[in-house]
Amino acid sequence: MNESAERLLKAWRTPKGWRYWSAVNNSKIGLWYTITAFGFLLFGGLLALVMRIQLAFPENDFLTADQYNQVFTMHGSVMMFLFAVPILEAISILLLPEMMGARDLPFPRLSAYGFWAFLIGGVFVCGSLFFGAGPRGGWFMYPPMTTQYQTGVGADIWLLGLSFIEIASIAAAVELIVGVLKCRPPGMRLNLIPLYAWYILVVAVMILFAFPPLIAGDLLMELERALDWPFFDASRGGDPMLWQHLFWIFGHPEVYIVFLPSIALVAMIVPTFARTPMVGYGWIVLAAVGTGFLSFGLWVHHMFTTGLPGITIGIFSAASQAVAIPTGIQIFCFIATLLVGRVTRSVCLLFVLAGLATFIIGGLTGVMVAIAPFDYQAHDTYFIVGHLHYVLVGGTIFPIVAGFYYFYPLITGKQLSERLGTIAFWLMMIGFNVSFFPMHITGMIGMPRRVYTYPAGMGFDNLNLISSVGAFVLAGGFVVFLWDLLRPKGGQPTAPRNVWNAGTLEWLAEVPDQPWGVRSIPIVESRYPLWDQENFVRDVDEGNFYLPDAEEGLRETLVTSTVEATPIQCLRVPGPTFLPMWAAAFTGGVFIFGTFHWYIMAGVSGVLAFFTILAWLWTGTAIIPEKTEKNVGLGLTLPTYVSGPAAVGWWAMFITMLGDMTAFMSLVFGYFFYWTVHEDFPPKDVEGPGVLWPLVSVFCALAAWGLMLLSRKLNSRKNGSLFYVSTLTSVLMTFAAAGALIAGPWLHNMDPTEHVYQASVCVLVLWTVIHLALGAVMQLYAVARRAAGKMTHRFNADIVNVTLYWHFMMLTAGITGLTIALFPLVS
C-alpha cells in the first residue's frame, strides 16, 4: 500500500474497542441499521406465528382477546414501522454511496442519529408487549376507540414511540435525497444513475410528504389523550374521520414507500443475472416517478365504507385503477430484460421471480378491492389480509431476501449457500401460498379480520388450519435462511471480487472491503461502467481518479451538480463521535418519559437533547476550512466551503422544511376539515382569538423575517456590528410575534378542551410558537457563531441557512395568523 493509500485509510479507519460504537460511516451505520431492522422482522414474524396458533382451531384459548389485540397491533406496527421502512433506509445508507462511488453520504452523523433513534424507539415500542402494556388499537389506531375506550399507556407508546421513529425516517429521507442529487460521481448524469438511486430519490421525497401528516395526526391524538383537546370527540365537535384522513394520507403512500425500494433491488439484480442492461430505463423512471405521484391519490380507498359521498369514492377508485399502469410497466420491463438476456440460474433470481409473481397476484386483488362495490363486501375481512400480504411479501420481503443473497458477499466477503437458499426458497414460496391464498376464500365467506377467535362450523375451520400450517412452513424457510446468514463461514473460501460479474459501481468494493468506500472517485461514462469502461477497476484501484489521497487526514467526498454531475465542491464529512447517539438517547427520553406523564424527566431530557444537538452543530457543521480550495486530482481544483443552493447543508434545510410545512399544512387541513363537517364553524356562540392580536403577530413575524434578510446582507460586511443589531432586533420581533399570537386565544379565554374550534386554533398557535422559539434559537446561534469567529463575512453558511428557515417560518406564521384571524369573518 502506497503512502497516499495509507493516509486515506487512516482518515477513514473505523474506531476500535468500545469506541467502535461512535462510528458514523455509512458502511457501519448501514450494517447496524440492517441487522436491527431484520431483527424486528423476525420479532414481527414470531408474533404472526403466535396469531396463527391462536387461529388454527375454533374457540382456541391460547391467547386472550386482549393479548390477541396487542399481538396483531404490534405485528402490523412492527412490520410497517420497524421493518419495512427502516430496512429501505438501512440498505440505502449501506449501499447507495457505494453505487454512486461516493465515500459516504453527506450527513453521516444524521444517519447515525437516525439509527440510534430507531433502535431506542423500536425497543421501547416492542418492549411494551412484555409488560402487557402494548397498544391494542390496530396499526391504524382509529379513534374514538383509542382515545376514549383505551385507558392504559398502550396507545401513547404507539403514538410517541413511533413519532420518534418517523422523525428518524424523515432524517434518513433528507440524507438520501441530498445524497442522490449531490453526491454522484463526476459524469454520472441523470440518464446514467443506477435505477436504485432513481427509486430511492422518489421514495425519499414520498417519505417527506407522507410521514408529516401522520406526525400531525399523532400530535392531535396525543393532545386529546394527554390534555383532553377534543379533536376526535364528536360530542365536542371533533370528528374521528380526520384521523382516518391523516393516517391514510400517510398510510397509502407508505405501501409504495416500502414497495419501490424493494423493486429497486430487483432493478439492480435483474440486469446482472440477465447479463444485459435494463430494457426500458426511461420507462422505469416513468414508473417510479409516476407511482410516486399517483400513490398520493389513493388514500380514501381505505375509507370506502365510512359513508363518504359516492362521487368522492369514485375519484379515489379511479386513481386506484390508474396506479396499476406505472406499476405494471416496470414489471414488463423486468420481464423484457430477462427475455432478451442470457439468464443465469441463481437463488437471487428465484426470489426475484417469486416476488414478481406474488406481487402480481396481490396487485390483481388490489384492482378488485379498488372497485368500491367489491370493497364494500371484502372490507375488514380476511380477503384484505390475503391481498395485503401478497402485495407486501411479494413486493417487499421476497425482493429483500433476494437482495440479501445478492449483496451478502459484498458486505461480508462470503457467499451464501445456493443449496440452502434453494431449500429456503421452496419452503417460503410453498409456505407463503399455503398460508395466505386460503385467506381470500376465508374472507369471501365472511370471516372478519382482527377477531381473536371464531365459532366452529362456519366454514372457517379447515381454511384457518391450512393457513396456520402454511405459516409454519414459511417460518421454516426463514429458519433455513437465518441459519445460512449466521452459520460460521470460516472454512469457506472468500468470494471473488464482483462475484456476480455485475456492471454497477458498488461492485468495485474490494474483498475484504476497505472503509474508504472507493480508492478513488471515478469518472463515470456509462450506466454499467464495470462492463463498458476499459481498465475501469484498475484505474480506480490505482488512484487514477479523484481524491485518491487525504493529505490533511480529513474525510472527503465530492459534491457534484444535480443534472450533469459536474464536480462543484470537495466536501469534508465528519468522523466518529458519540454525539448523535447521546442526542438520540435524550430525544428518546422526551418521548419515552412523556408517555408515562413523567414531565419533569421529559423536560430534563429535552434540555439535554437541546444542548447535545447544539454541541453537535457547533463543533461539526459549517467548519471554516484551513484552505479555501483544494486540488482533488486530475488537475481539478474545487472549493472546500460553499454556501447557499450549491451547499448540501442548504438542501438539507430546504428539504427538512418542506416536510415541516407538510405537517403544518396537515394541521391547517384539520381546521378547514372541521369547517366542512359542521353547519357553523367557528360556532356562533364561541369567542375566537379576535382579529387584532393574530394580525399583530403576522406583522411582527414579517418584521423579523425582513430583518433576517437584512442580516444576511449585513453579514457580508467585515464589520459585524450592524449584523448584530439587525439580528438581535429580529430576535425581539420574534418574541413579540410569539407573544401576540398567544395573546389572541389567551385574552379571549379560549379553552381548548371545550370544543374542537378552540382546540384547532390553539394547536395552530402552539405549532407556530414552537417554530418561532426555534427561529429565535437559530438567530441567536448565528449571532454566537459570528461572535466566536466561526462564521465570517465570507464563510456565511449559518446565516444563509437560518434565513432559509425564516422563509418557511414566515409562511407558517402568516398562514396561522391569517387563518385564525380572518377565516371566522368569511365563513
Binding site: 442529487l181 459524469g187 448524469r189 441523470l190 440518464n191 446514467l192 442492461p277 430505463y281 426511461g282 420507462w283 423512471v285 416513468l286 416517478v289 409516476g290 405521484f293 399517483l294 398520493f296 391519490g297 359521498p309 359516492g310 362521487i311 368522492t312 369514485g314 375519484i315 377508485s317 379511479a318 386513481a319 385503477q321 390508474a322 399502469i325 406505472p326 463515470v524 461514462e525 456509462s526 450506466r527 444535480t562 443534472v563 450533469e564 366542512t676 363537517v677
Partner: protein, 119 residues
C-alpha cells in the same frame, strides 16, 4: 432550453392539482351546498373546467418534452455521457410522464361524466 430535473414533475403536478381541486370542490360542495338529492351539476361543470385547464397544460408539457427529446443526434438508449443523451432521455421520461398524467386526469374526469349526484 435545457431540461432540469424539475421538468419531470410538471405534468404529474398538473394531475395532482386537478385531482386535489376536483376532490376538494366535490367534498366541500357535497358537504355544504348540495341539495338533499345531491345534484352535482355545479361540481361537474367546475371539474370540466379543471380538466380542460389540466389537460391543456399537460399537453403543452408533453409536446414540449417531445420536441426536446427530438433535439440532438444522440442515439438510443441514451446511455452515453453526453449532454444530448441526457437531454433526450429527460425529454423522453417527461413525455411518458405527461402521457401517464393525461390518462390519470381523464380517469378522474370520467367519474364526473358517469356520476350525476353526490351519492
Amino acid at each position: 432550453m435545457k431540461i432540469k430535473l424539475w421538468w419531470l414533475t410538471f405534468s404529474p403536478l398538473c394531475w395532482a392539482g386537478h385531482f386535489l381541486a376536483s376532490y376538494l370542490t366535490t367534498a366541500i360542495y357535497c358537504a355544504k351546498f348540495a341539495s338533499p338529492e345531491g345534484d352535482a351539476l355545479p361540481v361537474r361543470i367546475a371539474v370540466a373546467v379543471f380538466t380542460i385547464v389540466a389537460l391543456s397544460l399537460i399537453t403543452f408539457f408533453g409536446v414540449r418534452s417531445l420536441r426536446l427529446h427530438r433535439r440532438g443526434d444522440a442515439t438510443l438508449p441514451h446511455d452515453d455521457d453526453t449532454v444530448d443523451d441526457e437531454q433526450r432521455f429527460l425529454g423522453f421520461a417527461a413525455l411518458l410522464l405527461a402521457i401517464l398524467s393525461g390518462i390519470a386526469t381523464l380517469y378522474t374526469a370520467l367519474v364526473f361524466v358517469l356520476m350525476e349526484t353526490c351519492h
